[in-house]
Symmetry: C2
Subunit: 162 residues, 2 copies
DNA sequence: TATTGTTATACTCTATAACTATA
DNA sequence: TATAGTTATAGAGTATAACAATA
């Protein structure tokens, strides 16, 4: 069973035999796997009445198990500060999160999930994880382990370059 | 050296010990690796005076080594037909590609790279591949091989579900 | 009637920076 | 003067479907 990128590499070796295109084999496939995964992940999340970004914010708050500032939120989610602000507005509208005044530094605030918000994000995360599990079933659990470790190794070195 | 997703999994196991979040370890990392790779890939491509989408279209034409219809282009690049149409307009403006009339089916056309276009895409691809190679250097060539094979296996089964 | 490609629309996301209120 | 967060703006991409020309 060959994939799209394999055909692409064959074409390149015909047209530009002087070029070693093997790095495309990995980076091209990472991008392609992302493109295949996204619609499924998005669909599950949307079925819980939220966008993927809103899910990321709520899930970040949930697993932090306590208040976070908008700055902490945009740094861990890799979003811009502006994006976090406007998304928080919409989550506050739905009473899924609250902004608490920070008495120690009144420029800042602390964002928390409401009880209602926890009631929304918990089943969403459960569905999300179940969906992810199904999506990976075409690899054995050993292959999944290996894949996860290789990605973790790469990320460990690149994230720490920041 | 631990990565961001590992910390995230630890947090989940604290807050929701009932949930097996290990699938996040792979899908989360795929998305995160993509987010780290993109800016670098984009920067190299932009330095050749084109957007990533324009690069994808030009590279697709280059390795096809002959004319393609807009339909073939949007299917292989996973873009919408509308996106391809408007991007082709801009590439035609720069005289990097041409639309040839298809005498056999006058609804359709055949898109080709001009000599000028080939002169632009070839060095861009060379730079792109070199950049990708550098980006992967934190993995050994054996690890790269394993990673590519695992991704290819997953994609081979999912792409063929279409 | 179906298909190819183009065009138009509205929507989302992004990046940037101006702005406010505090420190 | 610097920082935290909000707000406003413009640009790029996407999805959708209406549309014209042709089959």
């Amino acid at each position: 069973m060959s994939d799209h990128v394999e055909k692409l590499l064959l074409q390149w070796s015909d047209v530009r035999p002087d070029l070693d295109c093997s790095p495309m084999g990995i980076i091209g496939r990472i991008g392609r796997m992302e493109k295949f995964l996204s619609p499924s992940v998005e669909a599950v999340i949307n079925s819980h009445g939220m966008s993927r970004i809103e899910f990321d914010l709520m899930a970040t708050l949930r697993r932090a198990n306590g208040p976070l500032t908008p700055t902490e939120l945009y740094k861990t989610t890799m979003l811009s500060s502006g994006a976090v602000s406007s998304k928080l507005d919409k989550l506050v509208d739905r009473a899924w999160v609250e902004r608490l005044v920070n008495e120690e530094d009144r420029r800042s605030c602390r964002v928390i999930l409401t009880e209602k918000g926890i009631g929304v994000i918990d089943p969403a995360v459960e569905d999300h994880v179940y969906n992810q599990k199904k999506l990976l079933e075409s690899l054995t659990s050993e292959e999944q382990q290996t894949l996860g470790n290789l990605l973790a190794k790469w990320l460990g070195e690149h994230e720490n370059q920041l």
